[in-house]
Symmetry: C2
Subunit: 241 residues, 2 copies
DNA sequence: TTCGCCATACTACCATACAAGTTAGAGGCG
DNA sequence: CGCCTCTAACTTGTATGGTAGTATGGCGAA
């Protein structure tokens, strides 16, 4: 298999796809992906120190690839590099959160409009199957599975809109907010409300009612707010001043 | 190369109202900024090879900081790193262009809505001064200056909307498209049309007419399309298949 | 001539060593 | 006792050598 000769961009793209992770990657890429996962899942907490030497020892490699990984994480604002001092996992910043939510909302509102315009019954089975699966996830209290299905639903919307590229941006900003919500225990009632939202959005799109779909979507995306606020109060130590 | 005190980049950094990231101005950062400028201004053309050794020799430093700079450029999709083969300046991709335009439009439409909602006459002098300066730039055929003022105008809109953070995203995506338009000679007539758009947007915002402002903004952002198409035909060698 | 193989010269990648800045703590001095 | 200072142990930043993978050009054989 000489086909594994992919460029760095390809590797990282495939990471965001979450599926089909290539095997042959550079050491730096592996460490980057690993650290990123641990930061996103809060296995490494905000504020934690990430010494080049320590990480290098942990992975059994030299400092160089670790350094490159940390540089990339820094470019994603996941860590802060203080020269000659320390590298730390960046804490949550309300400004960053607001930006992420703002951009995500803006992009997805635009996506919804295209989805209404391009609606075809060809997309109906996929969306209905996804929502049914969400019902089952709620019934079985499968928060993990629901999270995956929720993301799939929004990906399907982007498919309908024929703007799959835009979903990458939605996902980016969604991921940052989701990282915070790991700290919050979602109960089944809240999940059920989200499924209702999905159904309402679906109905408006099938009716090609852009204004209605937008209205529900905005309310849908606003629901996360009280969760964020709760986490901010209960876990203030993970937030920037 | 250790005594790096002040460069012209410092002032440009201070312009961005971003977060208070401690400025680390290492050799790698300088090389990154320099290469980025040269790529963005097309001093280095798409497809050109960027060998670690050559760049290192050019700057009189070792390969390591150059390598880090290239990694960061790679994370911004400005270069492609082909392991053990070469590192090249990435060519234009229509998919990437469409994504950038889509996101920019989505975000700025949202910004405009907030601007209408939050309008106050306090913002009037700044915007009027900016538009007057644009008139002068058109009159003196100062395309360079117009470009700066155009960006300032859209930044001011974000100020009105009280979403300065969102402008960072607008600027990111705007920059990618602007890079292409370097290849196109803007004539004064086109610039005058853009100023008219700005005035129309301004009027709608002062009247707090969100729908009207959005309509003009969409038309405004669509004007670039024919420029892109022209460049794509006249400079096909800089585009990906 | 044309095809296939191999040596060679390139590339990015990784490891190691050294340099320079920061912080914390021990110890001397007022 | 309290404060200042200096040292030592961290940290990240840079330089350099060596390694593995890739493309290319030349040579030999069909």
């Amino acid at each position: 298999m000489t086909e594994v000769v992919t460029t760095k961009q390809d590797e990282r793209e495939s990471l965001s796809m979450a599926y089909s992770i290539p095997e042959r990657r550079s050491t730096a890429d592996i460490i980057f992906a690993q650290l990123r996962d641990e930061i996103m899942s809060l296995d490494i907490l905000p504020g934690a120190k990430l010494s080049e030497s320590e990480v290098a020892a942990k992975f059994g490699v030299s400092r160089q690839p670790v350094r490159e990984a940390l540089n990339l994480l820094s470019s994603e604002d996941l860590v802060t590099i203080q020269p000659q001092k320390a590298t730390r996992v960046r804490k949550f910043s309300m400004a960053r959160i607001d930006t992420a939510r703002f951009v995500r909302r803006a992009v997805e509102v635009e996506v919804i409009k295209f989805a209404c315009k391009n609606w075809s019954d060809l997309y109906r089975p996929g969306l209905e199957r996804c929502m049914s699966a969400q019902d089952r996830a709620v019934a079985t209290h499968d928060t993990q599975g629901f999270h995956v299905l929720d993301e799939e639903f929004h990906a399907l919307l982007a498919d309908v809109a024929q703007t799959p590229f835009a979903f990458a941006r939605i996902k980016e900003n969604k991921a940052y907010v989701d990282r915070i919500c790991v700290l919050s225990l979602k109960n089944t009632d809240e999940m059920a409300v989200l499924v209702d939202d999905h159904r309402a959005i679906f109905e408006h799109i099938t009716a090609q009612d852009a204004a209605g779909a937008e209205h529900v979507l905005r309310a849908h995306l606003a629901r996360i707010e009280k969760t964020i606020e709760a986490v901010r109060l209960s876990n203030a130590e993970y937030f920037d001043a």
